[in-house]
């Protein structure tokens, strides 16, 4: 791996719910996660909804402040905590770390035309010198994301565009500032299945031309496998990364019981193969509450292989067969 562009060290995020009336409760959405993403690299982050993957993405973008631990960005030949960055350095980081959000329908301001969504960042970072140049660049961006002729889209309001078109505009806006790192948070999950591959390929093409790195967040292993082929994948469960390594290796031979369960849920087109597949027998289908997670390994209440140590000790991520796994079995 090349030098990481951005890394998370023991980063945690605790949300408090309630308060004012009744007792305050705390949710540990992200629990001591280590993560590194190198230049032009893809890391697919997979987990069920509510496992903290979106929160982790927002921590990487400094949209949320970590409760403990840090997210550092490689700038001026050293790693600096993104929350300690000031002035010019912070601006550079902001420009270089972008987000493609989940819901295309709420990503654009409903009261503003498409052109007014595209030009402010170009002017803000002086990528364009004036409005006319910004408009020209916006047109080029729309061409890149496959919306042509661009002039047709400039004066439209978001409510008059389809989900796919909106997502393309969101992508155009994110890449307009030529970022080095993009968090794609469920970027295709709200789109029609027929559109997904197109958008995924668009993101991959952008990676080729802009040399961007991706943190690709999804709940769908099949999509993660497609997007992060020959790259890395990380499996997240209740705020922890339980397994991380080369995509093909993990898909072919999952080690963590949770990864095995996740893989078992991916439909297999061949019924013969599907019948032969061994399903790990979960002890419970209920996902434990984040407010009071079980002690020890958080998966122990459901894990078919759970032993007594699993209820006592939190497993560390350790290297097994060329990947990282957090499980007492290994």
């Amino acid at each position: 791996m090349t030098t990481p562009l951005i890394k998370a060290e023991k980063v945690s995020k605790i949300f408090s719910v309630g308060g004012m009336f009744g007792a305050k409760k705390y949710i540990k959405a992200v629990d001591g996660v280590d993560l590194e993403i190198g230049e032009n690299e893809i890391l697919a982050l997979v987990g069920e909804s509510g496992c903290g993957k979106s929160t982790l993405g927002r921590l990487m973008l400094a949209l949320l402040k970590p409760s403990s631990g840090s997210v550092s960005y490689y700038i001026n030949h050293e790693y600096k905590d993104v929350w300690s960055l000031k002035g010019k350095e912070f601006r550079e980081y902001r420009r270089n770390a972008q987000l493609i959000p989940q819901d295309p329908y709420s990503t654009l301001n409903p009261m503003k035309k498409v052109i007014s969504a595209l030009t402010p960042p170009l002017l803000r970072y002086k990528i364009a010198r004036n409005r006319r140049e910004a408009k020209k660049m916006a047109a080029e961006l729309l061409e890149i994301v496959g919306l042509s002729p661009p002039e047709d889209f400039f004066e439209r309001f978001p409510c008059r565009l389809s989900g796919g078109q909106l997502q393309r505009i969101a992508i155009a806006r994110a890449i307009s500032v030529k970022p080095k790192f993009i968090v794609a948070d469920e970027a295709v999950s709200m789109l029609d299945a027929s559109l997904r591959i197109e958008i995924l390929n668009l993101l991959l093409n952008i990676r080729k031309s802009l040399k961007t790195a991706y943190l690709f967040i999804t709940h769908d292993l099949a999509i993660a496998r497609y997007f992060a082929r020959n790259e890395r994948i990380a499996i997240m469960y209740l705020g922890n990364i339980v397994e991380m390594g080369r995509t093909e290796e993990i898909i072919q031979n999952p080690l963590h019981p949770y990864t095995q369960t996740l893989l078992a849920t991916v439909p297999i087109p061949d019924p013969k193969l599907a019948r032969k597949r061994e399903l790990p027998k979960l002890r419970s289908l209920e996902i434990p509450s984040l407010i009071s997670p079980p002690p020890g390994c958080k998966f122990n209440t459901r894990c078919p292989y759970a032993e007594s140590i699993c209820e006592k000790k939190v497993p560390e991520l350790k290297e097994v067969k060329g990947r990282l796994v957090a499980c007492h079995l290994f």
């Binding site: 309630g18 004012m20 009336f21 009744g22």
Partner: protein, 334 residues
């Protein structure tokens, strides 16, 4: 309903009254010295008092004790209010509270009836409009509601007074009952009271029903779009039952929030309406105080109206909290 919520709500109510008291206190303190001197001069020339007498008169009227520091006066003022010492009327010398209590029952009578009619009518018509939205009935009613909302109550009062007591003398123009009838629990007296209160109540109801209609219409349309109502319709429940149990209750609840505003508006109008019809309520008394510039009485009236509005709003909120499980569990802002 949690205890905490009640405590918080009570604290807000008390804070409201406290702020109003503070406003009235400092408004007087903020009057420039020249005004006080002018008043002293006025008493010296008009009533032939000596300077000291006139000074004492003015200071006691405005509750000013020039020798004490301001904060002590402030505490005295609040303690006086709590003890029921609201100052004396400027002209008649009657204690303010006594003068106001004389009119209070009549105003409470008028406003409670008007408010009930207006609320019930507005809610009923509002639901009807929501069900028939887009139809002729809805359009006609919402034009009427807009006109009702837009008409100042003092102008409607004036029109009713002129056209129904002077131009066509159908209703009595003065008083809250026929003074030739002895007050008592007799049919004659009660019918006289109702007869005299008809026009004032009309004036209140017509100018406030529109607001309730529009609010209820909007609220009911929102509720009608909710999944549970659609589900109830899909289950084949009778529309009358849906209207009562699902829409009615859930749509009325948000209206409690505008209770204080509506009641405050009606109290404001009472100054005109009671004056027009020479009705013996506090609005009439405050109206007279206005024309005499009787500041202690005006201020006392304002305090009493505020207390009434805060108290009714508090009750409305408690009711709301009892009816709405969301408030019972959580907070106002959660």
């Amino acid at each position: 309903m949690t205890m905490k919520w009640i405590i918080k709500r009570t604290a807000t109510a008390i804070l409201t009254v406290y702020i109003v008291i503070t406003i009235t206190f400092f408004l007087i303190r903020l009057l420039p010295g020249s005004f006080i001197e002018m008043m002293i001069y006025y008493y010296m020339t008009q009533y032939g008092m000596s300077e000291i007498e006139a000074e004492e008169m003015v200071y006691s009227l405005y509750g000013i004790a020039p020798k004490k520091p301001v904060w002590e006066q402030y505490i005295d003022y609040i303690c006086g209010l709590l003890r029921g010492d609201w100052g004396k009327c400027y002209i008649t010398g009657i204690p303010v509270l006594e003068a106001l209590f004389y009119g209070l029952p009549w105003t409470v009578f008028l406003l409670s009836i008007s408010m009930t009619i207006s609320f019930a009518l507005g809610v009923g018509l509002g639901i009807l409009m929501a069900y028939r939205r887009g139809g002729i009935l809805d359009n006609a009613s919402s034009v009427f509601a807009s006109i009702s909302r837009a008409t100042p109550n003092f102008i409607l009062g004036l029109l009713l007074l002129y056209f129904l007591t002077i131009y066509y003398p159908i209703f009595p123009s003065r008083g809250s009952y026929d003074i030739s009838i002895k007050p008592g629990f007799t049919l004659e007296f009660i019918s006289s009271v109702l007869y005299h209160s008809f026009l004032p109540i009309m004036a209140y109801v017509i100018t406030s029903v529109g607001g309730w209609m529009l609010a209820m219409r909007g609220s009911a349309i929102r509720v009608l779009g909710e999944d549970y109502v659609i589900a109830a319709e899909a289950r084949g429940l009778k529309s009358g039952r849906i209207a009562r149990t699902y829409v009615g209750r859930n749509a009325i609840l948000p209206l409690f929030a505008s209770f204080a505003i509506s009641l405050g508006y009606m109290f404001g109008g009472s100054v005109f309406i009671e004056t027009y019809f020479a009705y013996n309520g506090i609005g009439h008394i405050i109206g007279l105080a206005m024309s005499w510039r009787d500041y202690p009485l005006i201020q006392g009236g304002f305090l009493l109206i505020t207390l009434a509005v805060v108290l009714s709003n508090f009750i409305a909120d408690l009711l709301y909290g009892k009816l709405d499980p969301r408030v019972r569990r959580g907070g106002m802002y959660s």
